[in-house]
Symmetry: C2
DNA sequence: CTATCATTCGTGAACGCTCCCAATATATTC
DNA sequence: GAATATATTGGGAGCGTTCACGAATGATAG
């Protein structure tokens, strides 16, 4: 199956140098005369030579390949473009840094163990990126046992010592809540994501911070737990309506969409009666009426950072391990407006 | 970076056989006694041995790795879950068949050529899957020159001889149109996708076939070209409305959504005045009011077939190369209804 | 002119596996 | 019981690199 005919030996012969010298040129060793280097580079260019990756791996004990593992069948995989964007970012960095990217999606966890073993022990990977693992995913202990450098995409408090990158959910949620406050809202409800997930917790934390900062008393009845889905947004909003918040911060766009449906069904107008904000900026957010004010996470950057960080770790295992957080962006659209109006918004 | 300490030699010693015999066991050669096989398997299991992939590649001249290349920054990548589903299907087959999957996304085509070379000439890949290439993508000639077995995901009439798999756009569109006919519609308009794309053409062809089959004269004024986007659906529908079709088949859900917006804006009811059907079954299709009748493509199956076909080709380069088409499913929801009513639907 | 040193280069070993070939053990036939 | 066929097995070569080492070259100092 391998087409690569030219060998280093042949290159060396053509350039009238030894294998070693040719190798040194390829690996940019400083101990090569200018003349020899030029010779070799010319021949390489002319013959379109590519070193045989498998052999380099064998000898140099590094594969120049990193693995991207998506351990669970993430439902989110199919409703928001998180994964393609992440992969895009990772892929870009891999190209730029001369790495290959191996992908492992885990549709069924039937033979998960054999799969993990296959990925980890085949000697195919220099390092590993794990995306969206649930907190107690069994791959993480496996990973540590295998001594592969790795970076988690998504903070995992169960393993605080593993390097990670994440979107800054706290700040994103805080900014959004601050924005709602700046519009004059004081009675701001939130529909949280599942509180047994890190993003769920973090987005709630951001909401709390913003209220505290603005010295608005936190009313626990205005905090209700959803599970990121549209249905949960719908039903939670129905209950929340009685409390007459003037604004609602939903921790996902899907829940925001559900909440808006509930409000409309009850004859309330968004944003005139109630402002609603979401989180994620899924494609549907622009496609609805009104368009959704939301928080955009630059997942592309997240992927880039994850890959950069892992490669940094490969080059220097002791590299500093502080986490990286790409910034989030507020996307203000039609579903929110000022609250500087009469107390009872019955026009 | 490589952890894999056990070597075949060690396994052989532990099992009191030679390297060769151990190798034969691993590669399921028939020329091994039951006793020896048992011995070796026991040791392998006990030591959790994994053969070193790079060496196998070096010697056996196959990598057990296939590449998935997504050559262009496909905008669709970020709005519909095509890519994750495809990858999921491919990944599943790879695991089952003992292959690794290498991913290459092409965000920018800045240094496309060097990237192609790197993927094709590094000897890393046994075969290649190309997804969603535009018709004249330069990777296809490169691919042929590199003599890699490959399978295109998406038919490419420019290269009819390259094996491919695709969703059956013609049949999907035909079925949907037949369904509209079965509801009693006779004046059925279509908003096509870009007609310089294969899916655009194929979906139009399916529409035509259904009408021809039902002996409904094809009225070319009812065929208008969009470009798969929501905006194009919106504006095309505005023009189309004057012609008073009772049903519209849009070649993408996005266009159907745009069309519905145009109709609503003009005070027409969907489905009471006009039935609208889409294509793709994107997540937003269930999230609208009314929910969209559409065609679901089992992209997951498409990925599976693509991988299966490629692996088949790797095992036997002369394997029959007939294309595989996963079936499409009609998803009937609220945006369509019977037309068996009074001629003028002004209630 | 010789000794010392830095620079540059080339040889040989090794990586861990598969494949080829020859050798051995076992079964079968006459 | 010898001769032959068959089923197993083991040893050696080789895959294309990198790396450690030592040799060669040239420059500089004494």
């Amino acid at each position: 199956m391998i087409e690569n005919c030219e060998t280093l030996e042949q290159i060396a012969n053509l350039a009238r140098v030894s294998r070693s010298t040719a190798s040194r040129v390829i690996n940019s060793s400083p101990y090569v005369s200018l003349r020899a280097r030029k010779q070799v580079l010319k021949v390489i260019h002319r013959t379109d030579y590519q070193p045989h990756q498998a052999v380099r791996t064998l000898v140099a004990r590094r594969t120049n390949t990193i693995g991207l593992i998506i351990p669970q069948p993430v439902p989110r995989l199919f409703t928001d473009p998180f994964f393609p964007q992440l992969a895009q970012g990772i892929s870009e960095v891999c190209h730029r840094r001369g790495y290959y990217l191996m992908l492992t999606l885990m549709a069924t966890h039937a033979d998960r163990d054999s799969l993990y073993r296959r990925m980890l022990h085949s000697g195919q990977l220099d390092g590993i990126l794990v995306a969206s693992a649930v907190l107690d995913d069994p791959i993480i202990p496996c990973l540590q046992a295998s001594h592969h450098p790795c970076v988690l995409v998504g903070r995992n408090p169960t393993y605080p010592d593993i390097p990670w990158v994440d979107v800054d959910n706290v700040t994103g949620a805080r900014r959004m809540t601050e924005y709602l406050i700046s519009l004059g809202h004081r009675r701001i409800a939130t529909i949280t994501g599942s509180l047994n997930t890190v993003p769920g917790q973090d987005r709630l934390e951001g909401y709390r911070q913003a209220l505290a900062q603005a010295e608005i008393a936190i009313d626990d009845t205005l905090i209700t737990e959803g599970d990121f889905t549209e249905e949960s947004g719908f039903y939670t909003m129905k209950r929340l309506m009685r409390l007459e918040p003037t604004a609602v911060f939903a921790a996902s766009d899907l829940m925001a969409i559900g909440a808006i449906k509930a409000l409309k069904q009850a004859g309330r107008s968004v944003p005139d009666d109630v402002s609603v904000a979401g989180y994620d900026d899924i494609p549907a957010a622009v496609r609805m009426e009104p368009q959704l004010t939301t928080v955009q996470q630059v997942v592309f950057d997240l992927g880039r950072m994850a890959a950069e960080k892992l490669i940094m770790l490969l080059d220097d295992p002791d590299a500093s391990a502080y986490p990286l957080l790409p910034t989030t962006h507020l996307v203000v659209r039609g579903s929110t407006r000022t609250a500087d109006r009469w107390p009872k918004p019955e026009s």
